[in-house]
Symmetry: D2
Subunit: 346 residues, 4 copies
């Protein structure tokens, strides 16, 4: 059985794991104040060309989204998101549990536009009942999106400018950031992305770490007292160095980007397998998640030897599913998938 269900099926990239093993018996102080965290922060700042940024390490994505959003918003504000955004769909109401509404806008190809945000803010401001309607306080987008798609530099610039114009903060969920930045379709560098938002995070869990997400706070107004927020929301790991060590490894010799690029290359082959075989795609994704639409019958056959994630029903006999690659995906696994899909066609 070969699994393509997600990009968090294996443990950590061997170089990351080795760092944990080789330092295991060292004594360091806790809660992210150790030298390894400092080292990782420096490397991340350098990679972002953002020497003034604050960098914090958390364990997982829902925790990170919740903590950042709760730290930024005032109680009467909500967060604007694509209806398909992870915070709106798959975080079990974590954002609302901190008291904030997710203001969900219709998405196209997983994305929302600066125009939609501007229209929403204008509508809100001009409504007689403005005080009875949740105030938008920030915009949340994912890079790549939940459908694997990417905002272009122009789209992101427009979004950031709109946010600044209207006094909203822009937060980028980078759970799969590496897969986005190393995509053939990306027209953005990490330093450019960092400058086009107020706060974002660099996902480790899905890109080579055992676990871990690195929040990068670009806007000085958002830096104050983030650490007690972290602690309060259960996101301050006692052995904080585990996060520092992993990000130190990932940001040494471009490991983070090299393994993400590898995953994308595997994904392009996966896409080609399905497209060549005539299957349409749910999203036109240039990153590590591919979403072929197949008949339920074919899926049942394929499912005997290959794991995939069920995504959504398309019609009575067809469904869209996800095949995700990762740093750990091998050419052999992809070849096996190709053979199996080609066998289906006959």
């Amino acid at each position: 059985m070969i699994h393509f269900n997600s990009d968090y099926l294996e443990g950590a990239h061997p170089a990351v794991l080795e760092r944990l093993v080789s330092t295991n018996l060292e004594q360091t102080i806790g809660y992210g104040c150790d030298p390894y965290c400092d080292l990782a922060r420096e490397k991340i700042r350098a990679a972002c060309a953002a020497p003034e940024a604050d960098v914090h390490f958390l364990v997982g994505g829902t925790q990170t989204n919740t903590t950042v959003i709760a730290a930024v918003l005032r109680p009467y504000q909500g967060v604007v998101s694509a209806v398909s955004g992870h915070i709106n769909c798959h975080e079990a109401g974590a954002i609302e549990s901190t008291g904030h509404k997710v203001i969900a806008l219709p998405a196209e190809n997983g994305k929302i536009t600066a125009r939609q945000v501007a229209d929403y803010v204008e509508w809100h401001r001009n409504d007689e009942s403005v005080e009875h309607i949740v105030y938008p306080g920030m915009v949340y987008i994912s890079y790549p999106t939940e459908g694997g798609t990417l905002y272009t530099k122009a789209e992101l610039t427009a979004m950031y400018n709109t946010c600044r114009k209207y006094g909203l903060y822009l937060f980028i969920d980078g759970a799969r950031l590496g897969y986005g930045l190393t995509s053939d379709a990306a027209d953005l560098t990490l330093p450019e992305l960092a400058r086009l938002c107020d706060v974002f995070y660099i996902g480790g869990t899905k890109v080579g770490a055992l676990f871990g997400e690195a929040v990068v706070i670009m806007n000085p107004a958002l830096k104050r007292d983030f650490r007690p927020m972290l602690k309060q929301r259960g996101g301050m790991l006692a052995k904080g160095r585990l996060l520092g060590l992993q990000f130190d490894a990932l940001f040494t010799d471009d490991l983070y980007f090299r393994i993400a690029r590898h995953a994308n290359e595997m994904a392009y082959q996966v896409r080609d397998i399905f497209v060549s075989a005539g299957y349409p795609l749910l999203f036109d994704s240039p990153t590590n998640q591919q979403y072929p639409i197949m008949s339920d019958e074919e899926l049942a056959i394929l499912g005997k030897n290959f794991g995939y994630e069920y995504w959504e029903r398309v019609d009575a006999t067809h469904s869209g599913v996800r095949f995700a690659s990762s740093w750990a995906t091998t050419q052999k696994q992809v070849d096996a998938l190709r053979n199996a899909v080609n066998a289906l066609e006959k």
Copy 2:
């Protein structure tokens, strides 16, 4: 200037006010434990033919919705509502501020259906990611809805049965309950409505009281410790008798229903004014809120002498607006409106 903006433009029905005046210097204990609250509770139970119901008095609608929903749901649950539901649109995120997502379903004529609720629950239960998606814990509907429309007895029965089947609670927002139950289109009595939900409230603020809403808890499972919830959410009025006195007056000699019926009769004339003059309606409302669609130019002219509530833009030159009647609306006011609208046509 004659205002039809809403049904809370005046103070209280004179009979209600008189009760407050005549008892003003009496001494009673506070927090809803006085004899007037007890009396009102008895009359409400009798009107509902629900001798076992618990009755609690709150000051306003947002407070009531928030307190009931927060008292009923567990932290990981959300409340299902029409996208046009008051809790989703016009309560400034009050529900989310208690930690719960509003699960908004598309509405037709202000209403959602039992089928929609069943489909949502089935989809949720069968999704692989069920634990990552907010659990529906209750259904919230308004009677009448925010567009003035009414659920039929058959629709409400289907909704209640669906809720019971799936283990959801059904909560009816009755901010304008009187206007619903005395509508020409209503096929439900108060006792019938009470039996087709787990908890509902009888709106006073918009139907003759200075302020006040009476929550009626029908389902014994929801009765426990509602009073500390009330207190915690700032909804326990110190001089609780003010609420008891008002509801006592409203439920004496059917005052509540008589004044609501009067408002509906005024509203039917208002509807006729606009329909006769050829204006389409935004909602087909059989209750005290009427929503004609007019050109912005006509609205500007009419707005010089008549107050209405702007509702929504229909097209580049037309808008839907609300004309609401209340217990206080007079024939003379309606006649003036008729003359003004007829004058527009020429």
Copy 3:
């Protein structure tokens, strides 16, 4: 039976009620945007000599405390209070329900000192685990306190200076503000008090109104977007004018202060009744709440004809109880009490 249980046993001062009656059929817009609210705001600003202050009207005390505190604090901050503070004891966890810890300091005579606050902040700041401990964000005090006692001008000045020094906001709960400012022991005027805090409220419920509290925001940093907070927390009354009308009446011809002074004069007689008869007092209160300590036997006898509030057990056979006067207390009621207490002694 004559009740001295509390200062909210009756309705409203007749002049207040008359305002509601005489305007009952007028049409005004809702939510506090009507001319009566504007008028009341102007009179309150004038009484506070604070032309720049923002004034908002709410219905009750718990709601007011919760809304103000939730509006001011960031999520990781708590509010410092006397252990005997109303928010710590008698609001059913309303503050915590908004996510904030009440940091309770030991109280003497119902009060905390600037020194205690400074010591707490210094301890917190210097603790190695500072990020693991709730950050103090504001100080809450009551004037008068829950024991009827008063901060002196010197004490309040020290507290305000300490708050400013450490970056905390100072909030004064004035549920019984009138009784404090008109006390023989008060060395503060309303304008002085207003200048010695960031935000406070003027209690109406317990000082002549049917209900209502007027929040006065002195610090410009706290003014932004208070109205959506109000709405979200269920504190925006639909018929907002009811609050405006009442405060307009109370701040016309010094009514608020005249009736508060009357209550204090009645209370001084009550105190004299008990002190002359040899009963010790739980608190040395110069305001409308008096707390004699009596034997349970005596209380049982007195309780046949007089209502009081049980406060706390003092020893196996004695308890402290509260006798509160109000604007409505009459000389005849006090005389009856004197006779009854004197009769006990024999």
Copy 4:
């Protein structure tokens, strides 16, 4: 430099780490549904002699306490804790951030008694203002406590019976459970402890794991829908197997207890070092945390070569500090400490 600051200074016990390394490239599904989590659950149930218990894995202690407490309490309820309890002191207001008050009772030697809990509940129930005071919904205790002390079987039995009598749930924070159960002073087994509470957790972070806490739900009433709570609170690790693998290793061949016992034996030597040298102790701890009181001068000297945690000031020139041992503490480290302390005395 040798650190005794805490029991989370190193990584994981080598046997635990080896499990992560040897399985690193395996593919498993996420979120705690993998075979390793199942295996670990079985072993924990067996160790607890509780075949019906539900077992869930979380990452850290604050997250665990917050999730359990928020899952159990209703909104108007608070959690009773020793004033020195971790949730009251060192979790940055995490419990309050979920809406619940921590009802702090005075502690002796880090513990509260069944009598204190009973007295509090009785006082609350009998108070006239019961509905205005936070309802106690559960009791939280730590085993061992924050001072390293232990509840006896008799004390725990009394507490559990009191909780059952009054309808409170009992939750035991076992962040250092291993160090408690293997103490010379423990008169409880794990199965006995499990039966004397409704829910508890087995701490991994401080007892051999890289990170991880295992919640054991004994009371069937608390089992429902814990997983969406986990997800909502950011506590559902994507690569859940990391937790399963670690607890599987810890509960194989009694590793958890063997390494905890080792730490206690090191701690007894540490205690002896200080007691023999004439230093008093802040707590009489029979577990891995020892709290000598030393002069600030001595601490400064010792601090050059040994790390300890500052605990509290005792007088102008003396402080209590913590020396903690762990599974990783070596005889050589303890011997070095003995030499250093003995050298101080001269």
